[in-house]
Amino acid sequence: MKALCWEGVNKLSVEQVPDPELRNDQDVIVRLIAGTTCGSDLHLIGGYIPAMRAGDVIGHEFVGEVVETGSAVRRHKVGDRVVVCSFVGCGRCWYCANDLWSLCDNTNTNPGIGQALFGYETAGIFGYSHAMGGLRGSHAEYVRVPFADYGAFKVPEGVDDTSALFVSDSVPTGWMGADLAGVKPGDVVAVWGCGAVGQMAARAAVLKGAERVIAIDRIPERLAMTERYAGAETIDYTTTDVAAELRERTGGRGPDVCIEAVGMEAHSDGPMHLYDQVKQQLRLQTDRPTAVRQAIHACRKAGTVFILGVFASAVDKFPLGAVINKGLTVRGAQMHGQRYIPMLLDRLAAGEIETAQLATHTLSLDEAPTAYDMFKEKTDGCVRAVIRPGS
């Protein structure tokens, strides 16, 4: 079959690879209907995520049709249209049982690498390096889905493929940020980054009753989309002093909750950007935490900062002093999708959350490298490029 492979730093190509097979009794094989580019892939394509091998198939957000089921699969049958959570959870370890699915103990096939890097390994994720599971990605004609009874969800009748697609990863990620940061009625919430993840975090904060939600980015079409579909206010950080603006809009207090949805390749115009980039290139730091620093600084005293953006290892100039002296709660997580996906599909069906607007471009699998170029450079108003292997 055809698949999109990582061939080295900033090198993607469409290759022939063997078809996936059932390798465990709880697996299903899914024929791809659609997949999407994700900000997390950019970190991986750029070589910032450890343990990639040339020839690895990438992609982790997808919707498709079940074409084969393992002998122990109970909840799915051939023909089901499913959206699949990007993280794989076994459903029965302590972490899964406590709804902390991206921390599952039993789905990373290379635990030693993650343990050396982080102390303990994460769960496995599709197409996201040998450190984070060693599972093949979904930008292909077919993909194997382990523990499918827990990670694949039937898409309700009234929800179309493209809308359902984002429930794989960006919608639950954004929701988790607002949920685990404890957003409640009366809060002012600031969100850094208006990619799909930031937009969904902003929408979740609105639905959880936040008084005001303020989203921050520099790309005009993303800011406009966030205003329209999330119902948030926005700030362009290239033309506005973000900290001062947030102070002014919050009666001098600062936001109660700050959600970071930018990640390790954050952009800025200031002198710190050059410093961060040089250190990152020299591998003296692995990640650029511009938005994290700003969020910690802007947050009100005793507020909460939630980091949704992906970071791989070490950062420099982390404002620890602000964290302790202002009494902040700083938290982060990879997404516990299985915890939220059924509820989010219901909200999608009810029209409370809209996602179709994120799919600004649709391309075939052969054009997938172009899709990633557009998404990376954010050209032609690209928010997410959807890849349809069947087209």
């Binding site: 492979c5 061939e7 080295g8 730093v9 290759e15 690879v17 063997p18 996936p20 097979e21 390798r23 465990n24 009794d25 709880q26 070589g47 450890p50 343990a51 990639m52 091998r53 040339a54 020839g55 690895d56 122990a72 794989v88 076994c90 459903g91 029965r92 370890c93 302590w94 049982a97 103990d105 039993n106 789905t107 096939t109 290379n110 635990p111 030693g112 690498i113 993650g114 343990q115 050396a116 890097l117 102390g119 303990y120 390994e121 496995g124 040998h130 450190a131 060693g134 599972l135 093949r136 194997r144 382990p146 523990f147 591998r283 692995t286 791989a312 290892s313």
Partner: protein, 150 residues
């Protein structure tokens, strides 16, 4: 080599482990432990070990006790005969000669079988393109199931 930066912390973790074991700070006879999200009676007993640990029963000591706070059962194992320094050396570990690798793997597999009913297997083949960098990753992934902090 830009994309191989991560190999440095991973290798350092390995070398540090060996150095600690030499200084006695990290002993080769330390218990390897996992917590299984099942009650002790499901996990087994000294005479009735869960597979695949049962295959090593002659050579290992086993300790099974309830974990605090409803966290299941602590399952700990170690070789009756402590592993020699030579078998725990970096070359032995890279070539898969350290017997603790087999034990760690069996312990992890036992936990997976007890909790999830199967041991997740990676896709095969893992990749279709052999490159020097890829081969290095392969060395790490081949040993990874038997290494780590257990």
């Amino acid at each position: 080599m830009r994309k191989l930066w991560w190999a440095v912390p991973v290798a350092v973790a390995g070398v540090t482990a060996v150095r600690r074991s030499r200084t006695g700070e990290w002993r080769q006879d330390r218990w390897l432990t996992v917590t299984v999200n099942r009650p002790p009676m499901d996990v087994g007993s000294e005479g009735m070990l869960p597979p695949p640990l049962d295959g090593l029963a002659e050579r290992i000591d086993v300790r099974i006790r309830p974990a605090p706070g409803d966290r299941g059962t602590e399952l700990a194992v170690r070789f009756k005969e402590p592993v020699s320094a030579a078998s725990a050396s970096v070359p032995a570990r890279l070539t898969g000669q350290d017997p603790r690798q087999e034990l760690r793997r069996a312990l992890r597999d036992a936990k997976s079988l007890l909790e999830a009913g199967e041991v997740l297997r990676p896709d095969a083949p893992p990749t279709t393109r052999p490159t020097p960098g890829g081969r290095l990753v392969e060395v790490f992934t081949r040993r990874s199931g038997g290494e780590g902090v257990l």
